[in-house]
Symmetry: D5
Subunit: 147 residues, 10 copies
C-alpha cells in the first residue's frame, strides 16, 4: 500500500457513499480547498484528522497512517493537462504568466508569491448572464535578498 | 515587423522611460491586468487604445497597426516555466489541479471555468507577518450540454 | 474500480454483444456523437442515462455510479496520436490551425470557438468518386472582453 | 529568401493594407479557407494565382516563384498549441479523438478520412444566445485494403 | 481482454508452436506483410480470417471477436524506436524525408503517397557480397485540390 | 558559411532557375535519389561532382568546398514530421515497424537492414484508378555476430 | 536590447579584460555567489550596484537600466544540462531528491526549503587526496499550513 | 522481486513501525544522508549492513540480497520533479547552474565536482526569523586532463 | 510470458544463486560482453546456448524458447539515462560525438562505424593512482556509396 | 563573439585551408582526439596552445582568448542525435548500457567510470573483410563511498 492507493480508496468510497467534499471538510472543521487537496494526495493530515477521515471513508489502519506521511506532490498525469477544466488554469498561466510577473515585481520588487504559505477560496458568483467561478488566492510575498 | 517585435519595442521603451504598468493602464482607463497582458502581446487593442499606446511608447505607425491584430497567444518560452515567480503558478495548477476540478464540478456539474470570459485583479494584502499577494479571479462557468 | 475500468467494461461488452454505437445512442434518445464520447469516458451521464447504459452493457452498480461522476477527460495515450485515423484530425489542426485562427478572428474579432458549448454531427456523404466523411461542428463564439 | 519569408511578407502587407482574407479569396475566385491556408504557407498556388497574389500584396518576383513551390507544411510552432483559439481544436481531437474513430469505423469499416482530398467551410451561425462558429468538413473515406 | 492482449496471445502461441509468419499468411491466402501487421495488432480481419487465426493460434472466442475490431494503430513503444532494425527505417525517413518530398512533388505536384491505399513486399535479394533486404512499396498518389 | 547555407543557396537557385532534380542528377550521371539527398545536405560529393554542381547552381568557391565535407545528417526540423507527405513515411514506420522486424528476422535471423549500404528508386506507377508512387529499397542485411 | 544581451556584454567584457568574479563581487561588497548569479542574468541589481557594474564592464546606459529590471530567470539552455559540471548537480537532485525530501520532512514536517530566502557559499576544501569543492546552502524552511 | 519492490517494502515497514531515518542510520553507525539514500534504492549495502536492515524492517532473505546489488539509480518519476520540495533543488540548479560553473572553474580550472566521491550533511539551523535548512556538500574536484 | 519476463527471471536467479556474468559467459564459451547483453535481453541465443542458460538459471521451457527469439532491443527506461554509470557513457557521446564524427570521416570518408558488426572488451587497467576501466571497441566501417 | 562563434571560425578556416585534424594535433604535440574535441568547443586550451591555434586558423585575438575560457560543453543539437554516425554510438549506449553497468559493477563494485579523468584513441584496424574502426577508452574507476 502507498499514498496513491489511499487516494484511490478515498475516491472510491466517496463515489459509493455519495459524499460531498464540502461535508468532508466540515467534519474536519477546515476549508474545502485544503481538505480536498489533502484527500487527493497533496497535503499531510494530523493524526486526529487522519482518524476522522478513516472513519468517514472506512479506511484500514495502514491507510490512516499513510495520510500522516508527507506525500510526493503533483496531482496531474501529464505536464500539459488534457482535462479541459484543468487546462484552462494551465492556459491562464501560459497567457498571463508574464503579466503576473510584471505586476508582482512592479508592486513588490524581485521575489515570488509563495505557493506554500498560501490559501485559496473558491465560490459561486451569481451573475444574471450565467454564474461565475470566483477564486481568491493569497500567497505571502517572499523577496530575494542580496547576500 | 511582427507582434513580437512590437512587444519588445514596448518593453524597451518602458525600461528607457521608466514607466509603470499601472500608469499605462490608467492612461487607457482600464485594469492594469488586462493592459499589461495586452502590452505583453496577449490581448488585442482597439484603434483608439493602440494610438494612445503608440504615443506613450513612441511606436511607429506600423506597430500601432499590429497592436490591433489578434496575436498568437502564449507568453512563455517553455512548457514548464523556469522563472521562479511564474513556476509557483504552474505548481499551483499541478498541486491543486484536481482540487479545482473536484470543487467546481461539485458546485456546478460538468463544465469549465472560462479563461476567455474572465477577469482578474492583483493587489497587495497588508499582513504584519509579511505582505501578501492577493489575486481574485472570476471566470464564467460554461456547462457541457448533452445533444 | 475507476472510470477507465468502466470504459473498458463497456468496450468489452460492446464487442461481446455486437452492439452498434448508433443503437446505444438511440436507446438514450441522444446523438451518437455525444453518447459515444460519454461511453468512451469523456462525458458525464445523468442517473437515468447511467441506469439505461448499465442495463444495456450489464454493468455492476458501482460502474453505474461512476458514469455519473465527471471524468478526467482526454481520450488519447500520446500527445501526437499514432492511430492514422485520429492523426488525420491532428494534421488538420497542424496544417489549418492558423487558418482557423485567421478566419474566425476576421469574422468575430478576438475570442475563441467554444469546445464546451459545442455539438457535432458525423455522417456519410455519398459521392460517385468514393463516399466521404461529412462532419458539421458548431461551437459558440466567446469573445475576449476588456476590463 | 524562402517560403517562410514570403508568408511573413504577405502577413505584413495584409496588416499595412488592411486587407481581408475573404477579399483575397474573392480575387482568386476560390474559397477563403483554401486561399488563407495557402497564404499562410500551407498550400501551393498555380502560376496565375501566384501572379495575382503578387500584385495584391506587392511581392517581389522571387516571392511569386516561391508561392508555386510545394511548401513544408505544418503551421504551428509547438506540438500542443499555446494559442487559446487553436488549442480548442487540439482539445476537440483529444476529447473526441476516439469518438471520431469509433463512429467512422462503425459506418465505413477500417480506413481513414482523408486530410488531403478534403474541403471545409467556416461560417457564422446566428444564434440569439450568442452567435456560433459553424464548420463543415468533408474528407474522402479511404479504406485499408487487404493484399 | 483487449486487442493488445490478443496480440500477446498470438506472439506467445507463435513462439510455443514454432510457427512462421509466412505459413500463417499462406493459411489465409494473403501476403505475409499484411497478415503479420494484422497479427501484430495493426489491421482488421474479416470474420472468416479471424476464425482461421483463432484455430491456428488456439485463441478463445472473445479473441476471435477482437481480431475483427479496428485496432488503435501504432506498433512502437517510443517515438524514436530504440530497436536497431526499426531505427534504420526511422533513419531513412530522417535522412531521405526531404528527398522523398522533393521527388514526389516534382513528379506528381502537391499531394502525398497514401499510407492507406498501400501495399508492400519484402524479399531476399541474393548478392555475392552479402544478401540484401529488398522492399517494394506502392502507395496511391493523392493530390491536394483547390476549392 | 556552413553546409546549411549551401543547401539554402541550392534550393534558392533551383527555384530561380526552374531546374528539375532529375536534370541535376543527369548532369552528374547518377540517380535522382542520391543526388537530391546530397543537394539537400545529406550526402558528400566528390570534387568533380561538387564543381559540376557549383557551375549548375552558380555557387561561390567556398560552397563548392563545403559540398565535399561530410554533413551532419538529418533533414527534418522535428522528430515527428509535420509535413503530411513526410509524415506518411513516419506512419509506415510506426504501423509496420514491428512487421518489418518480424519478417526480416524470420528470413535472415538477428541483424538489420543497412541504411548506409542502401539504394532506392522512386518512380510513377501508372494505374487506371489513379497513379501510384512506387518505391524500391535495397539495403544489405548485416547480421549480429556472437563473440 | 534585452537582459540577455546585457549578460552577453558582461561575459564578453570579462573575457576581454581578464576580470575575476571574485573581484567583481568585492567591488560591490557582496558575496561572489550572488553577484555572479546577477551578472549571469539571474538577480536584480540596485541602481548603485548597476552603476558600479556599468563602470567595471564599460556598459552603455541602457544596459545599466536593464540590470535593475527583474530578469526572466533560468540560466540553462536545456532541461537536462549537457555541461558535465552542471549535470553533476542535476544528478545530485536525481539521486538524492527523495532523500532531501525524506530528511527535511522528518526534521521539519510538511513544507519546503526556500530557494528564494536562500544563500550559499562555495569554497575550496584542501584535501591531501585532491582538493574538494565545498558548498554550504542555507534556505528558510517554509511550512505548509492548514486553512 | 526487484530492487524497487525492496524500496517499497522498506517504506511500508517504516510507515507501519513509525521508524525515523535518523534511527535507522544510527543502527548502521553511518550518516542519515547516505543510509536514507540507500534505503530509497540509490546506494549499495555491504552484507552486514543489509542483514541489519533486514532485521530492522523485517525483510525476507531475497530482499536482503537485493540490498547488496548495485541499483539502477535515479529516484524521481519525472525529469522536472513535480514535488515542491524537490523542485526547489531543481530550481537552484536551473537558476544557479551557470554560477556554479563560473565559480568552480574560476577557482579550480576546467573539470567538475564529483557526485560520486561526495558527501553531504543536512541539519536544522536555528534562526529567530524562522529556522533554516542547512546543507553542506563536499565533492572532490576532478580536473580534465590534456592527452 | 515475454522476453522482459525472461530477463527478470535471469536477474532474479542470478541474485539468488550469486552467479557472476563472467562465469555465465565461460559456460557458453563466449565473451562476457556478448553473453551479458544477451541475458539482459539484447541478443539472440542459439538453441544450444539457450538450453545451457536454461539449466544454469533453472528457467522453464517457454523461457528457453524466448531466448531464441530476436528481442526488441534497447535496455534503458529513459532516453537520457538517470543511472550515473550509464550516464557517463551518454555524456561521452554528447561531448565527443562531433569528435568521433570528425576523426572517422577524416580517416575513412563518409560512412559509419557499424554497431552491428561490432565487438567490445571491457577489462581492469591497473594504475597506481587508481585502477581504470579499459574498453576496446571494434566496429566495421561501412561507407556510404553513390548510386 | 562567443565560443560557438570561435568553433564556427575554426571549422570554416579548416574547410578553406584543407587542414586535417591530425596535423592540427601534431602542431600542439597532443592526441588528435583531445585536440579535435577542443577545437569543436568541448575542451579548454592553455594560453600557448590557444596562440598556436590562433596562428594556424588565423583567428582574431579575441577568439584566442575565448579558447582559454572553459566552454559550456555538449556538442550535439538534439538529445537523440540524427546523424547516422553519431547515432550508432547512442545506440551502443542504449543496447549495451545495462551491460556496461553489470560488468563494471561486477569487477569494481558500486561506482562509475570517469568521463573526466578519461582518454581515448581512435585508429584504423585493417581487416580483409573490410577495415574497422578501433577505439580504446580508458577512464578512472571512481567508487561510491559510504559516509
Amino acid at each position: 500500500m502507498n499514498r496513491n492507493d489511499v487516494t484511490e480508496m478515498i475516491i472510491e468510497a466517496k463515489v459509493k457513499k455519495g459524499l460531498r467534499w464540502e461535508d468532508v471538510a466540515a467534519r474536519l472543521g477546515l476549508s474545502k480547498e485544503w481538505v480536498t487537496a489533502g484527500c487527493l494526495g497533496q497535503m499531510t493530515f494530523s493524526p486526529e484528522q487522519a482518524v476522522l477521515l478513516g472513519e468517514l471513508f472506512e479506511l484500514p489502519d495502514e491507510a490512516v497512517k499513510w495520510l500522516q506521511v508527507v506525500p510526493y506532490k503533483g496531482s496531474l498525469p501529464t505536464t500539459v493537462p488534457t482535462d479541459p477544466l484543468i487546462y484552462r488554469f494551465h492556459e491562464l498561466v501560459s497567457v498571463y504568466g508574464t503579466t503576473f510577473k510584471a505586476l508582482i515585481h512592479e508592486e513588490f520588487g524581485d521575489g515570488i508569491m509563495s505557493a506554500i504559505d498560501f490559501r485559496m477560496d473558491l465560490t459561486r458568483e451569481a451573475d444574471p448572464k450565467g454564474d461565475r467561478v470566483h477564486i481568491t488566492m493569497s500567497g505571502k510575498f517572499l523577496p530575494y535578498r542580496t547576500y
